[in-house]
């Protein structure tokens, strides 16, 4: 009978381990440590070098934009006219400043801003339940952009972090492939969060960014 195909036979051993197996195994282990420990550590210590400037416009989704506050860092997303990849109707944008994070999620959504916020609340409640960290939220209130679109917002506060969730639904009329205009609805969820105090200090910039959201007419 053919024998069992163990990797090695009769080699010298070091602490009970076949010597020939040590180098390749350690190489793989080192690669794992590089990717899962060293690179994240380098990332954590590296600051952003490309703060947003006056005139920059972030594209939240096809036809929907936000004007970032000067000096904030665009961690994820596209600036208008500066990317080759077309921004689709489902996209994320993330701006950060200090410990404060403004995250925008855009995706097709057929409903009202209140319905969108209710759906986001339900998802967050499921996640909070799983994590065992429910975060109390305030009542809903309206938020109006400079363009006149009305969204719905709520605030939340945890032990060390606070923030707001704002939901908008924009009606747009992109051209279909057949050349006919077809109305679509695009939902935008904006979550601002950060350490208590840090958010308050940036309140004006945050409000200005949220109010700057607009859909191409």
């Amino acid at each position: 009978m053919a024998g069992a195909a163990t990797g090695t036979t009769g080699e010298e051993r070091l602490l009970g381990i076949d010597r020939k197996t040590i180098a390749p195994a350690l190489l793989v282990l080192a690669l794992a440590l590089l990717m899962s420990v060293v690179l994240p550590a380098i990332d954590a210590r590296t600051p952003y070098h490309h703060a947003t400037r006056k005139g920059d416009v972030a594209v939240l989704a096809g036809g929907i934009t936000l004007v970032p506050a000067q000096g904030w860092d665009l961690a994820n997303g596209a600036l208008l006219g500066q990317t080759r990849t077309p921004v689709g109707d489902t996209a994320q944008t993330e701006l950060i400043d200090g410990g404060v994070d403004l995250f925008a999620q855009a995706a097709p959504f057929a409903g009202t801003p209140s319905a969108l916020l209710a759906r986001v609340e339900r998802i967050n409640a499921d996640l909070d339940h799983a994590r065992g960290r429910p975060a109390p939220v305030t009542h809903h209130y309206d938020v109006t952009t400079r363009q006149g679109d009305v969204g719905v917002a709520e605030d939340f506060a945890g032990v060390s972090r606070q923030g707001s969730i704002v939901a908008f639904v924009f009606r747009s009329r992109p051209r279909s492939t057949a050349g006919q205009a077809q109305p679509t609805s695009e939902g935008v969820e904006i979550v601002v969060s950060g350490p208590i105090g840090s958010v308050a200090r940036r309140r004006d910039a945050i409000v200005a960014m949220i109010r700057s959201v607009r859909a191409a007419s």
């Binding site: 009978m1 053919a2 024998g3 069992a4 195909a5 163990t6 990797g7 090695t8 051993r13 009970g16 381990i17 076949d18 020939k20 197996t21 040590i22 390749p24 195994a25 350690l26 190489l27 793989v28 282990l29 690669l31 794992a32 590089l34 990717m35 899962s36 690179l39 994240p40 380098i42 990332d43 590296t46 600051p47 070098h49 490309h50 860092d73 665009l74 961690a75 994820n76 997303g77 596209a78 600036l79 500066q82 990317t83 080759r84 990849t85 077309p86 489902t90 994320q92 995706a107 097709p108 959504f109 759906r119 986001v120 339900r122 998802i123 499921d126 996640l127 799983a130 994590r131 939902g187």
Partner: protein, 378 residues
Amino acid sequence: MSTVAADRRRAIEQSGWGEDFHLVQPHNLAFWVYCTLVVAGFTVLRGQVSIALAAYSGALFDGVVSFGLLAVAYLWFIHREDRYTTIPPRLAAAGFVWGAIAAPGAFALLGNDAVMRLYAKTLGASFAFDWSAALTAPVDEELAKGAGILLLLVLASRLIRSPFDGLILGAFIGLGFQISEDISYAWIGAANAFGDIGAANSTIVVRTLASIPSHWMYTGIFGAGLIWFVGRPDVPARKGLGLGLMATAMLLHGLWDASAAIGGDSVFGWIVPIVIAGVLISVFVRVYQTTVPIERKWMHELLTPEVELGVITPAELDALAGSRSTQRAYIRRQRDPRTARRVAEAETELAHQIARDDGAETDSVRRARETVARARGS
């Protein structure tokens, strides 16, 4: 010992055909590293799955069912193409598990995130938006999957004897990674669309349609390159070719990930991924055609003594050791193709039995010969 019998012995020794695979090898450090990184990967992925279960369980369920079925289809296909000195199921399973759990969980997830953020931090978010995935994932992910091939090579050095074995094992590892990634994309698709399960199903359709030019092909090419790079006892190392194939796998992976940026707003942008997929499939087929002859040679040498014994005919041997189209054409030419197919199946099983019994004249081999005779007479 006659020349043909010596050839048979050499074919069995060179190919490792008939060897079993045992993962548990306490004296082999590769075993401990394999286990450690699978556990580490499982821990990371479990955190992700718990999020999906809490808020996107419907999308997760759809993803698991759809891509589970897709995995079965691809496992069958890869096993079907590995029809000569077949990789043992336990070795294929160890590769699939590495690809599905260790490679994403212990390597790629954290590594990809870190490197893509570093691109955004150092070169700007717009550059990262276009190119970070294409510059990050091919390197991180091919190395993560390739690390599994290296570990399993150390664990099964007598089984992985040719670049063809690297191609097949790489395909199994790549498939595991692909299915794991597909399932995560399904529920992330729902998460990115405010929990809409329709978005998850759209993702499932798109990922299924794009499943041919994907990880199982990249890692198959990488695996063949890795075996050529390190060499095997009967396959001298060809370091340039090996490095070239590993780099080709990364390059094609990167081009695929960059296809949206390459195409840009052009109305012809949709052509880019089709061209890249065509090149990838062509390279994979070329690597298959280049690596498979040694497997056919081993099959020929293993069964040649059976021709002398009158168990199989020279024409049947040529068909068995030929390509699938050669075998199909041979069967079609016979007066009774159904019988010819049954004979071919029985002869293939005879080859496996001879290899399992290390070329010895055993009762099992004799029974396998009788099965061939019965198939011929039925």
